[in-house]
Symmetry: C2
Subunit: 294 residues, 2 copies
């Protein structure tokens, strides 16, 4: 029996709907969450992402503003602008779209954002709170994965979660979140990467397998056990002359073969991707609530 498809588009829509209700409650108190996005340079993918985020804000009722700067923007100008936004009462969340041009240190940018407005969950202070299991902003993609698991009826508690990839956006934070003694977590977690030996021996043990290493169609049916739940975080472009653009997006999982073995699986696109933006919105509303109560 082929796997249930975990529909990230649908689940993210549900989340956005419930955010709308929260936003209407806030509106009655004359509170409107504000998100500031900063885009430096003309990277086409970054422009697409920022536009998607702004559009998603509009749809649910979050006020957003985008600062667009030429790619030559000096680092100090960007840091000053972040400082301004840190102090601006109408802005509750700040996001700087990465990658930034070479003259700008991403580390300095991350450190410049006030942890209270760090809706991406990138600031070391928030990362540390996350590892300690304390309340904080959780990074959007891992948080979206946790929501996908819970809302598709695949609570990780007591399960063996095997994570492929130790990146700072997914593997590391997700591992830190899933072994916590808390709701939506409490899993035994194994984190694998380029230095892992006998990888298949480990992936075969996964009750839940998270593929986040950025290698097209890497995980095959022979690498997973029947009944596994597979979350595919990869978005890899591969050539496909049959499409108009000449390429198409595939995940880190060989979807067609793995779906015959798995209990449930996320598609690419339409799985993890839509969740990331929904979680950004959710974090922005959370930031607004915290800052409005303070």
């Amino acid at each position: 029996m082929p796997a249930e498809i975990i529909d990230g588009k649908m689940i993210s829509s549900e989340i956005k709907e419930s955010l709308k209700e929260k936003l209407e409650d806030l509106k009655r108190k004359e509170i409107v969450p504000g998100l500031a996005a900063i885009l430096v340079g003309d990277n086409p993918a970054s422009q697409v992402y920022v536009n998607m985020k702004v559009k998603a804000c509009d749809k649910v009722g979050i006020r957003s503003e985008v600062d667009r700067y030429p790619k030559e923007l000096p680092e100090s100008d960007l840091l000053n602008r972040i400082e301004e936004l840190n102090g601006k009462e109408s802005i509750h969340g700040i996001l700087v779209q990465f990658p930034t041009p070479a003259q700008i240190s991403e580390e300095k940018v991350i450190l410049a954002v006030d942890p209270k407005k760090d809706v991406d969950g990138f600031h070391p202070f928030n990362v540390g709170m996350m590892l300690a299991g304390k309340p904080t902003f959780l990074p959007c993609t891992p948080l979206g994965i946790q929501e996908l698991l819970m809302r598709s009826g695949n609570d990780p508690s007591g399960k063996h979660v095997v994570i492929l990839g130790r990146g700072s956006l997914v593997g590391r934070p997700l591992a830190s979140m899933l072994f916590q003694k808390s709701k939506g977590a409490n899993a035994t977690v194994t984190i694998c990467h380029t230095a892992t030996r006998n990888l298949t021996n480990l992936t075969l043990q996964a009750d839940i397998l998270i593929a986040a290493m950025g290698k097209a169609k890497f995980v095959t049916a022979a690498m997973v056990k029947p009944g596994v739940v597979v979350i595919d975080v990869g978005t890899n472009r591969i050539e496909d002359p049959s499409t108009k653009s000449g390429y198409r997006l595939v995940g880190d999982v060989d979807f067609d073969s793995v779906k015959e073995v798995a209990k449930a699986i996320t598609p690419v696109p339409g799985g993890v991707g839509p969740m990331t933006i929904a979680m950004l919105l959710s974090n922005t509303v959370k930031a607004c609530k915290i800052q409005s109560e303070a």
Copy 2:
């Protein structure tokens, strides 16, 4: 063949000897690292720990001072004292001995210490830097375990490290350190805890097994594979009428049986314990060097 005993006392002595040399170099530049320890109340174990730390400072040539307060000390007084020490140039490291009495929030104490003087590596900012793999103060016990592994010729790179326990002092930070792509790390890491199913199935796969869950003699020979390297972080008091005190310390590992199967094993006491203090000294010297260059 019984296991090689990894001698934490000897290895920590080597580390302290090399610190002495560094301290003599600093002295020639008229720089003396200073550590401030704060002890609130009269918990006997805490008194022993603080005395051990002060004595160890003396031995290598770190200047130390201890603030001893009655157990009724108001939280605000402690936080004010930490603030003072944050600003004191001759103090490079600050440690507050835990546990503190009930009226004092350990979380607030941790947040009060300037991350630059946080030689325990407890501040969320430093914890976040650790998870990100950035330069920071690493917490003393996990750092000591990493040193034990490297100095006993058991580089974790490419190995499967299974950690028992997800505590904030050992399990969590150690996992975060050992999966990093860096020297002394680069391991596949599995973190197990009370919710883990089929625990023995996982411990049997460990190339390196770290027991840090605080259950006396929990890990038995039947739970490990021949040739495993075992690091025992437990210190549990068990009754022993044959001793003068009526009790003795044992680890989380059943040393006598496991040493017959393992390649190498740390004893309790004399394994991880002495390393923790050596790493505190090492972090204090590091803090001094960073602050003196600034």
